[in-house]
Point group: C2
Chain length 350, copies 2
């Protein structure tokens, strides 16, 4: 399964879908727990195994997006678990925790149902570009199908009960990953941060929770799950928050094209020069330069590259993908050398 | 004359001669004043003009290295004067001062005799690589020929009298321009600075007096001119000071090749990538990257370039050469863009 995955681009980096020059991907996840079982923090190993067994056998019936494959995360080696994290199919916490746990992943990598993450079930649907309405329809369907078979812990007044109180209610988290190099370059990004804070939205980095909003990639997600319906939350994102940020980013990009095109081109082409010729490079520096290339391609400033190549490099240069690509375990220094090597090969071919 | 000059590489950047992987160029200059005339700081405009006239008519008789051309520095425009500075044919002070003054320059650009610089006469001979003995022979011959025709101010006890007391005696200054990227990278360059200070040698930057020893290029010169013969000073440089620094630089380069070859290659190739793709670049940054390329070519780490191209770029990217190349006056920002353009063209051709 894992070896099949790495042969193709991850869904979230496909670079397709509406607004995909600025919106990398959209994601919704629902938190659910099985009635009659304690939350995982208080569950025994036996209860945990029992949950895995019950959930695994009931998940397949909800399949959308082609066949789902159940992965026993506990039995995967560290590298394979890391591959799943880099493809945004499981959370870092899920990969790194202990005990019986798994994930059912659809063939097209849009759906992942995590078993025994923080909650008994975490249903996630992910698509490239801005597709929250479509995702909502799909995840709603999956949730219904699961609920036909499983009795979820639900309180008539509070809604779905979850391990962490911040998820109680709808149990929904809506996230959109944005590429905002224009706002970053002109320094206006701080205003977006402040506005997001005022709207009680969280801003995180490339790998979601626990990663800092450095670089030019920002994941924006809701923090409140109580007191508003799922549709209200999704509509807020789809019709207001995200379109406004996109418009703002486009204004800044136009400003750069009008008044600072030389500095813009310089930044883009220097990044190309470094990526094409360096002999060792960290993951962070790679992300920064790839961000500039992505901006350059999307703004029509660099034509010798296509978006698919840039997106492929985002994934190929991640530690686990890199080690799979080279077929061996590498320490940090070796990875930096392998990363430079991999980028150079790919840019020379393109 | 100036337009002829810029068609070919400057002597000091020819990249030929002994030890030219580390020694960029060697230079000797002699300070002389005409007896019966006051030093320039106290000379009237009339005396200054009279000196120019007397010296100009007597200089040609000392010609070596092909025909000499006399340039009336006062009448040259600022750009042409700057070209002479960038080619190390006249000092920055000489270019920027006022009043009647000139320079007689040999066709091969090895000899320049400045009239009314700080002293009435400054005779300079310059060659690429480590060639102090050869330079000494040539400059000694020129000095003798001039002394046949001109009565120099000379004191039986103190020697040649000069405007600045630091030049009294032999009036000699011996300078060697070194490229020491190895010592710079390993941090050992500080020890060279300390040793030079102990030996009462001055360490300066790429453009000599008044420029800081930043980057990887260092001009080392004597500070004392009294109490030692010219031969002793030159021998000290040729047989002791410079060979020791060269050996030290070679040791550091070997260390880099043995223990840090990846970091070394990374530095060299990143510089290549930036120079080849940037769209705007300052003079200082250009020097830094060209230094890495020069090291890369000389150490056999980069083979798609030759030393002649790198040397040509050192000169072409200087402000005045750049403006001559593009045929128009450029402000700082325009120069940075033109510089990037010029480098990109040259590296794409090579």
């Amino acid at each position: 399964m894992i070896d099949d995955l790495i042969q193709k681009p991850a869904e979230w980096l496909r670079g397709e879908g509406p607004m995909s020059d600025i919106v990398i991907s959209s994601r919704i996840r629902l938190a659910r727990n099985v009635a009659g079982f304690p939350f995982l923090s208080r569950a025994t190993d036996e209860q945990r195994c029992e949950l895995t067994s019950i959930l695994r056998s009931n998940i397949d019936g909800a399949a959308t997006g082609g066949q789902w494959t159940y992965l026993d995360i506990e039995k995967l080696d560290e590298l394979d678990r890391q591959i799943l994290v880099e493809r945004h199919l499981v959370s870092r916490n899920h990969a790194e925790s202990k005990g019986s746990r798994g994930a059912s992943v659809s063939k097209n990598e849009r759906v992942s149902v995590m078993v025994n993450e923080e909650d008994h079930l975490r249903i996630q649907v992910l698509r490239s570009g801005l597709q929250l309405r479509e995702i909502w329809e799909e995840i709603n369907h999956i949730d219904d199908k699961l609920e036909d078979r499983i009795d979820f812990a639900f309180h008539p007044r509070y809604g779905y009960l979850t391990a962490c109180p911040t998820n109680v209610g709808t149990g929904i988290r809506v996230s959109v990953m944005l590429h905002l190099p224009g706002l970053k370059l002109t320094g206006e990004i701080e205003k977006v941060f402040r506005a997001a804070k005022d709207m009680r939205l969280a801003v995180r980095g490339f790998f979601g929770e626990g990663t800092e909003a450095t670089g030019d990639f920002f994941q924006i997600s809701n923090q409140t799950t109580l007191g508003r319906t799922e549709e209200e939350i999704i509509d807020g994102f789809s019709r207001q928050v995200i379109p406004r940020i996109i418009e703002y980013e486009n204004i800044e990009r136009r400003k750069l094209l009008e008044g600072r095109v030389l500095a813009l081109d310089d930044k883009i082409w220097r990044s190309y020069g470094v990526l094409k010729h360096c002999r060792t490079i960290s993951s962070d520096e790679t992300m920064l330069h790839l961000s500039h290339l992505r901006m350059g391609v999307n703004m029509g400033r660099i034509k010798i590259l296509d978006l698919a190549t840039v997106n492929e490099l985002f994934l190929l240069t991640q530690p686990a993908h890199l080690q799979k690509f080279f077929g061996s375990r590498l320490n940090g220094e070796q990875r930096s050398e392998a990363r430079a090597d991999c980028i150079r090969r790919r840019l020379t071919e393109s």
